[in-house]
Symmetry: C2
DNA sequence: TCTTATTTTAACAATTTTGTCTAACAAAAA
DNA sequence: TTTTTGTTAGACAAAATTGTTAAAATAAGA
């Protein structure tokens, strides 16, 4: 329990998240993080004991945040289509700022194995899947395993932002053009999912 | 120019690619790579001089390979829909084996800045985009900036495989179930793109 | 076989990155 | 003010990672 609470602990975590999730510097060292935060590297050990524990803390928070965002969106009291549109809005807004959060989570899961198992509520997702199935019955969306619908949704949302640097090269798109495209994504995704 | 050519140089590159692209161990050290290849770490320096140059070599090859795969698919002499289906087949097959190749490319671009600029032919992509535009005119696919069509295609293709470990957690899907879903992807993606 | 160029290995050195220890500093409580 | 607790900073140590050197092993050609 910090008594003074100078905000340094939070600053370190926020800075690390900025480097890792926003700038995609997945190899950031403790020195990199300390420098970016404008604190002595020792502070990092004071608060988190080791680099691994800092990473673990960030991993946990990111996982919780993602799961919570997911659950809040999916249990919102709205009809299915509006709810889905809301998911797109919320997740796109987040992806624009932190495009590499999911990449970080996956690569850490790969290197650290299955150690960091934060328990996640899966009920909200399940109920959203049920709603999707119901919509399929009604003929509002194409019939498929609802999990495909969910994967489609998140693919269309996330992938372009994650791969932005690569797309710009491969497809010869400028930063300006790309941003304009992202602006249009919400509409495009809705059309894809609901074949309006 | 190697005279004896014992295949070690290739073995090192292939092993590194396996660790990086297949297993997603993006923090692999030279020792990790040497061990996995069953060679002395010195060999790695003998052939590539430094870790950075090994990474650069792999980056280059991966970029070339991706660009070439892209171009071959896009200049195939086929009608648009069949061509697109072929793209899905080819890229899915590759993603199943090397899900993290694109992630590697992006994170390296982020850390190394814009140093590694391998020149890429963009004409094949451009002509594919033109074909897509023509299909939209014909009403075969929904009207949008053709680049969106391309982003949709690759999003639906790649993202589920990249994020597999995360999906399995968030959506409570077993490995077996997940593989079954991936089997179905090609059909799903075709339906999404061509709203058949 | 002897020579030569290439490849592999072992020992060592340098660098980078992480972790520790101690003391100084700051602020609230006694 | 003194004490106590929590925070920051500097110097140092340890570990991990990368890089170098020189010598041994290997295979091909003269």
């Amino acid at each position: 329990m910090p008594l003074k609470n100078t905000g340094t602990e939070q600053l370190i975590k926020d800075t690390a998240k900025r480097l890792l999730f926003a700038e995609g510097k997945l190899h950031a060292t403790t020195q990199d993080i300390a420098d970016a935060a404008g604190v002595n590297r020792t502070g990092l050990h004071y608060y988190f004991r080791s680099r691994d524990q800092l990473i673990a803390a960030i991993f946990d928070e990111a996982m919780q945040e993602l799961s919570q965002r997911l659950n809040e969106c999916m249990t919102a009291d709205q009809p299915f289509k509006a709810k889905t549109k809301h998911i797109i809005t919320v997740f796109l807004r987040h992806m624009v700022v932190f495009p590499y959060q999911e990449t970080f989570l996956v690569t850490e899961m790969n290197t650290l194995g299955k150690k960091l198992i934060t328990n996640i509520k899966s009920d909200p997702v399940k109920s959203y899947l049920k709603e999707a199935a119901a919509e399929m019955e009604k003929g509002n969306i194409g019939k498929m395993d609802p999990v495909h619908f969910l994967m489609n949704l998140f693919s269309l949302l996330s992938y372009p932002l994650i791969m932005a640097p690569l797309y710009k090269k491969l497809f010869q798109v400028s930063g300006k053009e790309f941003n304009a495209l992202i602006e249009e994504r919400e509409g495009i995704i809705m059309k894809m999912l609901f074949r309006k």
